[in-house]
């Protein structure tokens, strides 16, 4: 029998600026996680970015991304995971949507897919890999330069399966 599936876990709305946001104590009872970020920064910087970290691990991450900046295309790799990489950060609003499949599995590394959009800078898609078989119990979004602005929101959902 099909059952309702798309479950809200937690949302934070920043009441003041913050350099990072962390979801902790994530229950392991779902198949997928979806994180929707709608945010701006306290300043603009075309070279800045937002890291994605699982369980506080700043190692064991890698990514491949592609972006269009309105005039050129680019693809890149990095030895870290990202919510937003190419095309920087902005004081206007942007979206990032992160899909993490089998986040609580202990028999595989964790692959996540990201769509990250800043309309005055870029549209981007990223595939991340966290080279760990540990279940993901926390997710941190860390801005490399300038903070997430007050009013930014970050919502986490679980998808059963």
């Amino acid at each position: 029998m099909p059952t309702a599936t798309y479950i809200p876990l937690q949302t934070i709305t920043l009441s003041s600026s913050a350099s990072s946001v962390t979801f902790g104590s994530i229950p392991g009872s779902y198949k997928s996680l979806v994180l929707v970020a709608n945010y701006s920064h306290t300043a603009s910087d075309v070279d800045a970015l937002v890291y994605l970290r699982f369980n506080g691990d700043s190692s064991n991450g890698s990514m491949v991304g592609m972006r269009g900046n309105g005039s050129t295309t680019a693809s890149y790799t990095q030895a870290n995971m990202f919510m937003s990489y190419a095309g920087g950060i902005t004081t206007t609003r942007g979206n990032s949507i992160i899909q993490i499949e089998d986040y609580s599995a202990t028999d595989k590394h964790k692959t996540s897919l990201v769509r990250s959009d800043l309309s005055n800078l870029k549209t981007e898609a990223i595939a991340n890999r966290w080279a760990s078989t540990s279940a993901v119990t926390s997710i941190a979004l860390v801005s490399s330069a300038y903070s997430f602005a007050s009013g930014s929101t970050f919502s986490l959902y679980g998808i059963a399966g």
Binding site: P2, T3, A4, T5, Y6, K31, S32, S62, M63, V64, G65, M66, R67, G68, T73, A74, S75, Y76, T77, Q99, E101, D102, A105, D107, K108, H109, K110, T111, S112, L113, R115, A125, I126, A127, N128, R129, I159, A160, G161
Partner: protein, 186 residues
Amino acid sequence: MPIPLGILAAAGVRAAGGSYEHIQTYNVGSSGSIASVSFNVASYASTYQHLQIRAVVSAANTAQWMNIGFNEVTSAGSYYSHFIRGTGSAVNSFASGGEGLGAAYMAKFSSNPTAAVIDILDPFEAKNKTVRALTGNATAETFGGPIMLWSGQYMSTSSVTSVEIYASSTTFNAGSRISIYGLKAS
């Protein structure tokens, strides 16, 4: 009785229960060696408007690709597909027709798990079936699918009765998981 959060007794807003529902999950077991997964969706035509598949997979041959097919139709002329991808060094775009196992090159296998979120709109309507997928595995390679936005079409106006996910020229490894969900329109 207070109205539950998120529910309005107004036209166009539906009662609690949700519009996104899990239908079935296939977990490839410890023996692995499964070349395809088939979901029978014929009985859901009156329940759901759209379908979504979420998958995380690996395969015995990491040089191969994952395909999607419908109604067990494998004739090459029934499918066509396109994608844009980032290889880690370049963005490129390709088209592929007539691969014989469904719409081809939807996702590439690698030593990393490959993730895919696949959206099939109006599968039960009298139109060709257009599929959109975001797939990737973060493995930089020139002919691979590290990060891709993919589209495919099944050129038949028949209602979808089954959806097949193929490990083309290989088999899914143990630990692979493919889930199908239904999205309601009322």
